[in-house]
């Protein structure tokens, strides 16, 4: 109900944006990982957000991470015949991480996170003032 639900909604967004930031960090850290745990080059991960009703029958919707999918973009081929992982033609397969896109993603996630903490702070100060009503 009302202002208390704001906390649930904003915190769902905070946790979703944190996961997004996590995925960005993983992509950035592995931008040059030519070998991942399963032996193939690392593939960029993308997060998928989904709106879910906060309560049964409620119109207000919180955010949920519905899944983390592999980026379908083709891998980056670099010509380096001396590299130990080079194929017969001398190309090395590097991850399909686009560093520019990931930076933009990171900035967007951090702005959204800040916005939702502002919302929480506002809701908190309104509730505190409501508690002081009639004094």
């Amino acid at each position: 109900m009302g202002l208390f639900t704001v906390f649930d909604i904003a915190s769902s967004a905070l946790s979703a944006q944190t996961q997004r930031l996590n995925v960005v960090a993983s992509n950035m850290a592995n931008a040059d990982s030519a070998v991942s745990a399963d032996g193939t080059p690392y593939r960029a991960k993308q997060i998928v957000f989904q709106a879910v009703p906060i309560n049964r029958g409620s119109a207000s919707q919180a955010v949920k991470v519905s899944g983390i999918v592999d980026d379908p973009a083709p891998p980056r081929l670099v010509y380096d015949p001396n590299h130990p992982l080079a194929d017969a033609k001398g190309y090395v397969t590097f991850p399909n991480v686009n560093v520019v896109e990931e930076m933009a993603n990171m900035i967007s996630a951090s702005r959204s996170y800040q916005m939702n903490t502002d919302v929480m702070n506002t809701a908190k100060s309104l509730l505190l003032r409501t508690l002081a009503l009639g004094q």
Partner: protein, 132 residues
């Protein structure tokens, strides 16, 4: 006597309830500002407030004193509408976060205004009750 106090405070209580509900709707818009295909929602405060004030007598019939009065505390639920975006985005999301945060702050300030009106009303009531 008590129902008169109830009626005296009703506009303030309705305004606070609707402001709180609107802050919930707007915070949901802000939370979903990155969700693909999410449509921003809002309600017409004036229409909701008029509806809540005129609904006072249209309550569910209570045939036993042990029945709860479901509408007594909350009033009517406002009708949610979809917002028309000025600049629709490519992923189908219609939240414009800068405009939404403006509306959220505006709503918060009006909530505080309603709060101070309510506390003035309570103070006036206390003055009348003390009779000094």
């Amino acid at each position: 006597m008590l129902d008169r106090i109830d009626r005296y405070l009703a506009p303030n209580v309705n305004a606070l309830n609707l402001r709180a509900q609107r802050s919930e709707v707007l915070s949901a818009n802000l939370a979903n500002s990155d969700t693909p295909n999410y449509k921003a929602r809002d309600f017409d405060f004036r229409a909701a407030m008029t509806g809540a004030l005129n609904k006072g007598d249209l309550r569910m019939a209570r045939t036993s004193p042990e029945h709860l009065d479901p509408k007594a505390a909350t009033g009517a639920t406002p009708r949610l509408q979809y917002r028309m975006p000025a600049q629709p985005s490519i992923d189908g999301n219609t939240v414009e976060s800068d405009a939404e945060i403006g509306r959220f702050s505006d709503n918060a300030i009006r909530y505080q205004a309603a709060l101070s009106f309510t506390s003035q009303s309570i103070r006036a009531l206390q003055t009348a009750l003390q009779g000094q």
